[in-house]
């Protein structure tokens, strides 16, 4: 037997489809690597010949310019690297809040457009068709100029009861300053959140098993809000407020929300909500009508039928295009540059690029950042989608 095996003619490797496939792939990889290498090499050589500074040495140099909004410590003596982080955080801030608001508004509108109430459905339809069809840049410029024009000047500020101001320099609110004793309240808050999660899952399991309902909402509110407040009261209110006050030109102190930020957040949320509304509407329509009818015949009220039967099933259809909308919102936030909001593109791909002149490095970093944000967002959404997906048995 053994002899037969050894004498069997062995096909040369080129006729082996698997080996051939691997060889082609290797060849392609080598080609791509070579192209990339020669592009980089060529660029470096050309830049050196033109005596244009290269490399990432600029990262630690002093930036020298001021930034209107930074959530981390930044001054004109900070480095370009620091300015990069300020810009990135500003981008993430407006994108994250934009995603939250656009989602809330978008779901409301999507559902409203399917409402049996003629007026509600028409109004939602009107919103979607108008907002979707006007370029975002125009809307941002509109909101920015509307915000600036509609709000009073600094000397005629709206006074918000409780010590806040609203004017064309922004929204100014009292800033809570927590004393050392406030950490007990923080601990209470964390405990409250954990307890609420445990309670909710217990209540759900019990409802599944026995059909008995628990007052989930009230218990959650009590644990998350009332408990920390009670602890705060017991520890003698270790909270003071730093109130904004008017100086010679501007309002100082307190929490400051810039008009540029408000306009951008407003514009992005309103615009993206119109697209999300359509995604939601399509998702709901994709759920077979029989599901709603079955829910009704079980005695569920329309609101509950929507919440418990239709929406969970429509999420499978909604999530993938919703992810695209989130990515769009993040990328659209780069239009900030038009209305003076200091996002990553305005600070880094704008001022830093100009001051250092290192276009290649700065643009490569900026592209890498947006790519990373997009990949992380869609990764998270895919995780969520996998949990939502229909589990086939």
């Amino acid at each position: 037997m053994a002899a037969v095996e050894t004498t069997r003619p062995k096909a040369p490797l080129i006729y082996n489809p698997k080996a051939r496939g691997i060889a082609y792939q290797l060849l392609l990889c080598a080609l791509i690597l070579f192209l990339a290498w020669s592009a980089i090499h060529n660029a470096a050589e050309n830049l050196a010949r033109a005596k244009i500074a290269t490399g990432f040495g600029f990262w630690d140099n002093t930036a020298g310019f001021d930034i209107s909004q930074s959530l981390i410590e930044y001054s004109t003596t900070s480095s370009y690297g620091r300015a990069f982080w300020v810009g990135l955080i500003n981008t993430l801030l407006v994108a994250a809040l934009g995603v939250v608001f656009a989602t809330l508004l978008g779901f409301l509108l999507g559902i409203a457009r399917l409402s049996r109430n003629w007026l509600v459905a028409r109004m939602a339809g009107f919103y979607v068709e108008t907002i979707r069809n006007i370029p975002l840049l125009l809307q941002l410029l509109f909101w920015y100029n509307a915000v600036l024009k509609a709000l009073p000047g600094i000397r005629e500020s709206f006074v918000i009861p409780g010590g806040g101001f609203l004017n064309n320099r922004g929204l100014f609110l009292p800033q809570p300053v927590f004393g050392p004793a406030a950490r007990f309240a923080l601990i209470a808050l964390l405990l409250g959140v954990v307890a609420a999660i445990v309670y909710r899952s217990w209540a759900r399991r019990r409802q599944m098993a026995t059909g008995q309902q628990a007052p989930v909402l009230w218990v959650t509110l009590g644990l998350v809000i009332a408990l920390p407040l009670a602890v705060l009261a017991l520890s003698g209110w270790p909270v003071t407020f730093s109130y904004p006050e008017s100086g010679r030109f501007n309002i100082r102190g307190g929490i400051e929300v810039l008009p540029e930020f408000m306009a951008l957040l407003f514009g992005l949320s309103i615009y993206t909500a119109a697209f999300i509304a359509e995604v939601v509407r399509a998702g709901i329509l994709a759920v077979a009508k029989g599901q709603t009818e079955a829910a009704y015949s079980l005695g569920l009220r329309p609101g509950l039928a929507l919440r418990l039967v239709v929406i969970p099933q429509s999420m499978r259809v909604i999530v993938p295009p919703l992810t695209s909308q989130y990515l769009n919102l993040t990328k659209n936030s780069t239009l900030a540059v038009a209305i003076g909001y200091p996002d990553l593109v305005q600070i880094f791909a704008g001022t830093v690029l100009n001051q250092t002149g290192q276009a290649v490095e700065v643009i490569v970093i900026t592209m890498a950042v947006y790519l990373t944000i997009s990949l992380v967002t869609s990764g998270l959404m895919n995780l969520y989608n996998r949990r939502m997906a229909l589990v086939e048995r």
Binding site: K51, S68, T76, P135, F249, V337, T351
Partner: protein
């Protein structure tokens, strides 16, 4: 319709993002063009590409018929006159402050004459060379009269609108730091947006080069409600820049400015240049090319300076026409007067 609108509007900003991306790539690939013969490229192309300001009265601004005017525009026309004997062979590419250097590095423009301040880092690490100073300037502030501010030193805590990618942005931060004043900067990509925000009350002050203030204030809704503060907080020597690596082109750009200044010094004007050609003054003979081979040494014809003066005029004429008494800006010669009249404009001799 919607598509068209979207394109036009989107174009405004997208253009700058995509443009920067494209330019970044182009910098890497085309930087080699720097060492090429710029003059030959210009001649075979049949025109000069000038990086210009597109919105600044007095320096670079197209009118409704697309005719460009301004001191920097006239400078480019002078270059075109010297090379082609035709000032209309200059093509103007409007650039924002922050995109201008990338455009020059990548070879999109041959020369950057866009009220650009000569600084050491721009002259070295950006891969550029500044040729000459065609306008001596400094940075100033404009504020609302109603604020009752008389000095920039009273601006502590003020909000200031400024354009990004400028020395203005840096001087502003320095000035407030040096004087221990708090500052709220609001930064915009274009001066149009920055000025509009100032006009809408977003900022207490707007700051830029004094020459820019003179032009920009005319765009405010109510010019008389604003005053320019007396302080000049920086030195802003503005001048045309070229890429590193082409000495001939560097010389041509530099000597175009000097020809205009020398012409003013010798009293040669657009009107009398033909008469002056008959002059016996050896300085004038050399400048106008009736004696010596000074144009040839630059790679131009010997009457290069004659062409400049014939088509564009001398430095003083260009100044008065664009920013001086013949313009709405009405800026006095001041530092930009000739050296023998109390100013700083001093040109090396043609010999």
């Amino acid at each position: 319709m919607r598509g068209v609108l979207a394109c036009v509007l989107g174009g405004l900003v997208i253009k700058s993002v995509v443009l920067r991306l494209a330019l970044a790539a182009a910098v890497a690939i085309a930087a080699s063009a720097a060492s090429a013969q710029t003059l030959n490229t210009i001649k075979s192309r049949g025109g000069i590409n000038c990086g210009s300001n597109g919105t600044l009265a007095g320096f670079g601004l197209p009118d409704s018929q697309g005719r460009w005017t301004g001191l920097d525009v006239d400078f480019c026309k002078a270059l075109a006159a010297a090379i082609f004997n035709d000032p209309n062979k200059a093509k103007f590419v409007p650039l924002t402050a922050k995109d201008r250097f990338t455009a020059l590095q990548s070879g999109e423009v041959d020369v950057l004459a866009r009220n650009t301040t000569w600084t050491s880092s721009r002259d070295t690490s950006l891969g550029l060379n500044f040729t000459a100073i065609n306008y001596f300037d400094g940075q100033g502030f404009i504020v609302r009269k109603a604020l009752k501010v008389n000095s920039a030193l009273e601006l502590g805590d003020a909000a200031v609108c400024v354009q990004q990618g400028t020395t203005t942005e840096l001087n502003l931060a320095d000035y407030f730091r040096a004087n221990k004043m708090k500052l709220k900067t609001v930064t915009f990509a274009t001066s149009t947006e920055a000025l509009k925000a100032y006009d809408a009350g977003r900022c207490d002050a707007y700051t830029t080069d004094a020459s820019g203030l003179a032009g920009e204030r005319l765009r405010l809704a109510n010019v008389n409600d604003h005053i320019i503060l007396p302080e000049v907080i920086s030195k802003e020597p503005l001048g045309p820049a070229v890429r590193h690596g082409d000495d001939q082109w560097f010389d041509i750009v530099k000597w175009t400015h000097y020809a205009m200044v020398n012409a003013e010094e010798f009293g040669i004007t657009q009107a009398n240049v033909d008469d002056q050609k008959k002059s016996d003054n050896p300085d004038i003979k050399r400048l106008l090319g009736t004696e010596g081979k000074h144009g040839e040494a630059l790679g131009l014809s010997d009457d290069w300076a004659y062409r400049i003066i014939k088509h564009v005029g001398n430095y003083g004429e260009a100044f008065e026409r664009n920013v001086g008494q013949g313009s709405p800006l009405k800026i006095a010669r001041g530092l930009n007067g000739l050296w023998n009249k109390g100013g700083l404009q001093f040109a090396p001799p043609v010999r």
